[in-house]
């Protein structure tokens, strides 16, 4: 399959074809509105990338800890999250391609303990799959693994790089500190892209983000409904939406797709779980990206739904005052510190991390929680003891296991399925029966 009429590298053609196949399959299906909206969004995103290559537009790379609206304030720029190819490969079920990228990075000397998505990004660069950046803008969140990847990528690309230092806490002082850095980052972006930063364009971008935020807020609310109206696997995609599409009409379309599907299904009295949900769990830490069908299995076999997870949770601080340049910069800083999933929970003290968890469990009336410990998330795994204690105190049964969210070779789907099944049988079901 070609993209925009030209042959491209196999990794890209495969995801493009995969997305197109899934879109065709589900196009008429009202049950798949949300899923379809993100697939269409990503296919358009690939079109944008290749159009930009063909037109010679400057690319700015960023990482998943960076909400890219500042970059989008440059008219004529193309943004590129370093994780995008891997997310797409897994979304369309082409996990073998991700695994090949991971192996590529490891055989080049990247340590196995670095996050698989970061290794895959290094692998993609080694395989020359990403268009060269004019420059790179990275945020030092959500973790050290990202720092490792950022340093490796900078060294490999030898392109100008600027770090936005995201500090430990998230109070107004930190918001101002980050906003100042964002402002100071503008001349850097202008210098290396050769484009002018346009405050009106930035305002448009921020206003679009607000529209997206409103849909996502409603969507988060609708997913509290009992029974949960919409499938579990869609929740985690929120993070991919925010990292790739923040500030774009496509992002709003996807968020609307998520919202509309949930709303319509509630109106029709439908449940995510055929035959009725029996269990609700908060999925904390990272999703099983390499097998989104995994969530279908939970619904059909266990009657278990995930109304919310850490990647889907959209914090209420998202809306931004667009009245002045300063308010927009501070709003964007606040979004990076307090809204973007992972950065919000992972960068600061453990309380940030646990408080969201407890809030989600309460708001979404979870029967239990699943801590899916992605092996690279040392900030999560390093807090597991305190996390367990908090869970116990709150009376929330907690299942903990370790796996790799982009590499199925670490823990198999069967092993995870067994863990969840036994936990429900041995712990959750008996409690539920007593109640």
């Amino acid at each position: 399959m070609t993209i925009l009429g030209k042959e491209r590298k196999e990794d890209w053609e495969v995801v493009y074809e995969g997305a197109t196949g899934l879109i065709d399959l589900y196009e008429e299906d009202p049950e798949s509105k949300g899923m379809n909206s993100i697939l269409i969004g990503f296919r358009n995103f690939i079109d944008d990338i290749f159009a930009a290559i063909d037109e010679g537009k400057p690319f700015v790379w960023h990482n998943c800890g960076c909400s890219p609206e500042l970059i989008k304030g440059l008219d004529g720029v193309q943004t590129m999250p370093i994780e995008v190819l891997t997310v797409l490969q897994d979304l369309v079920g082409e996990v073998d391609f991700t695994v090949a990228l991971i192996d590529e990075a490891e055989s080049h000397g990247v340590a196995p303990e670095v996050c698989s998505i970061d290794k895959a990004a290094v692998g993609a660069v080694l395989k020359d799959l990403y268009p060269e950046p004019a420059c790179m803008l990275y945020h030092n969140t959500p973790c050290d693994s990202q720092i490792a990847a950022i340093k490796s990528l900078t060294e490999m690309m030898k392109k100008p790089m600027r770090l936005m230092d995201v500090p430990y806490l998230s109070t107004d002082r930190e918001v101002k500190y980050l906003a100042k850095q964002l402002q100071e980052g503008i001349p850097f972006l202008e210098e290396h892209t050769g484009l002018k930063f346009d405050w009106d364009k930035f305002r448009e971008v921020r206003e679009e983000s607000n529209r997206t935020a409103e849909y996502l807020r409603d969507w988060n609310e609708l997913r509290r409904h009992r029974p949960c109206p919409q499938v579990s696997k869609i929740v985690a995609l929120n993070t991919a939406l925010l990292v790739a599409f923040s500030g774009e009409p496509e992002g709003t379309k996807i968020a609307k797709g998520f919202r509309d599907e949930a709303k319509e299904r509630i109106e029709r009295g439908e449940s995510a779980v055929e035959g009725g949900e029996e269990y609700r769990a908060i999925w904390y830490q990272d999703p099983v990206w390499w097998d989104l069908q995994f969530y279908d299995w939970m619904e059909s076999e266990l009657k278990l739904v995930i109304p919310m997870d850490l990647f889907g949770y959209y914090a209420p601080e998202a809306l931004i005052d667009t009245s002045t340049p300063q308010s927009m910069l501070e709003g964007l800083a606040r979004k990076n510190l307090k809204v973007l999933p992972m950065s919000r929970q992972f960068k600061g003290p453990i309380d940030y991390y646990i408080d969201d968890y407890l809030r989600m469990c309460a708001d979404y009336e979870a029967d239990f929680a699943i801590f899916a410990g992605h092996v690279a998330c040392k900030h999560g795994l390093g807090g597991i003891g305190l996390f367990r204690e908090a869970s116990r105190e709150a009376g929330i049964p907690l299942l903990y296991f370790e796996f790799d969210m982009f590499d199925p070779r670490v823990t198999s789907a069967e092993a995870i399925q067994e863990e969840i099944t036994h936990f429900i049988e041995d712990i959750v079901a008996p409690v539920k029966e007593t109640v």
Partner: protein, 377 residues
């Protein structure tokens, strides 16, 4: 005292969490402030009358207490230090000042705050790029730390106190620099194992007493001829390194470590804090913030490489041995890039993975042997 006696004394200092100097300090009513990282301005503790004590896991037999709170994918250095703290073996600490040097220590800080409950607990948010544009934030953090210490302990840290602390710490730096100068000789009068024992001890005992011991050591070493039976001279770098036995296992193969550019080694000291009229606290902060950057820092890789190249040149070294504690992410990134950069530079580079406090003689022996042979040594 001669070399052997002094080294034996320092060996005792570093063997367990407590040491005789620390106990004496406390016996005289002195207070102790714990910290993990080179970006914490220990001069401020000295100026406030504290003994700065760098946290490590020596003396921890197992990490089970830490394991109860942290996954086995957390670096063993951190799990051991946390275990010591949870077992009350660090109960001599009057306070700790921690920071987000890495994700592992960030979580250790949570455990210190919630479970260990040291009387004074502070946290610095240290920027991750040693750039002028971020310095003011760091300086503000250091100022905040100073006032927190003042108000918690009811004391005042004056400019004169800070200047005295700078002088004392500079005196240590100057002695470490002289020790390292001696290691540049063709026949270094001290091994890497021994020298690391010295630099570790500097982090755990009163600086004044340390300085006096080192004065004697330097006199003794200066007159000694040292050994030239080694097969190659190497620089050890990478993750924190507070385990002389590990260096010994490298040196047993004939690779003499002539500089340990790692935390607890030379990297923790750096150049002198320059004298000057400027604000003392700012001078301390500037020294810390713009020290030879470690792997947690971004936008500074060229400086890190330059420094290593210069060290190889100045110490007439043949190669670099890079060691990394398993699961350490910051050094994973640097390890990858350093490998390729050193290849370009034509500097032989061996990368080793280790666990904290696990004797590694077998594995290290085989790897180092093969490395030396490859180099034709």
């Amino acid at each position: 005292m001669g070399k052997n006696e002094i080294l034996d004394t320092l060996r005792e200092v570093i063997e367990r969490p407590r040491n005789a100097y620390l106990d004496r300090w406390r016996g005289n009513g002195g207070k102790v402030m714990g910290y993990y990282c080179s970006y914490i301005p220990e001069e401020v503790f000295t100026a406030a009358g504290f003994l700065p004590y760098r946290l490590r896991g020596a003396g921890s037999k197992d990490s089970s207490d830490g394991d109860a709170y942290m996954s086995s994918r957390i670096c063993t250095f951190v799990r051991h230090t946390v275990s010591l703290a949870l077992r009350n073996e660090l109960d001599f600490l009057d306070g700790v000042v921690l920071m987000q040097n890495c994700d592992h220590i960030r979580r250790a800080a949570d455990i210190f705050a919630k479970k260990v409950k040291v009387p004074f607990n502070s946290f610095l948010s240290v920027p991750r790029a040693p750039q002028e544009r971020l310095f003011q934030w760091y300086l503000d953090e250091v100022r905040r730390l100073k006032s927190e210490i003042e108000s918690f302990f009811g004391l005042t840290v004056t400019n004169a106190d800070l200047e005295k602390a700078i002088e004392l710490h500079n005196a240590t730096r100057e002695r470490i620099a002289r020790l390292y100068e001696l290691r540049k000789r063709d026949r270094p009068p001290i091994t890497g194992e021994e020298a690391l024992g010295v630099t570790i001890a500097a982090h755990l005992m009163p600086k004044g007493e340390f300085n006096n011991l080192i004065d004697d050591l330097l006199i003794d070493l200066d007159g000694k001829s040292g050994n030239d039976t080694y097969r190659a001279r190497i620089i050890v770098t990478g993750s924190e390194m507070d385990d002389p036995e590990y260096i010994a296992s490298i040196e047993k193969q004939g690779a003499l470590s002539v500089a340990e550019i790692a935390c607890f080694g030379q990297r923790s000291f750096g150049d002198l804090i320059p004298a000057g009229d400027g604000d003392s606290l700012e001078r301390i902060a500037r020294h810390k913030f713009f020290q030879i950057p470690c792997a947690r820092m971004v936008e500074c890789f060229d400086e890190q490489v330059e420094m290593l190249k210069n060290t190889v040149r100045d110490f007439n070294a043949h190669a670099i041995i890079f060691q990394r504690i398993k699961f350490c992410d910051p050094w994973a990134g640097d390890g990858h890039s350093l490998y390729w950069r050193m290849k370009q530079e034509g500097i032989p580079f061996l990368s080793l993975e280790r666990e904290y406090k696990v004797p590694a003689a077998g594995q290290v022996g085989t790897r180092v042997q093969a490395f030396l042979e490859q180099m034709g040594k």
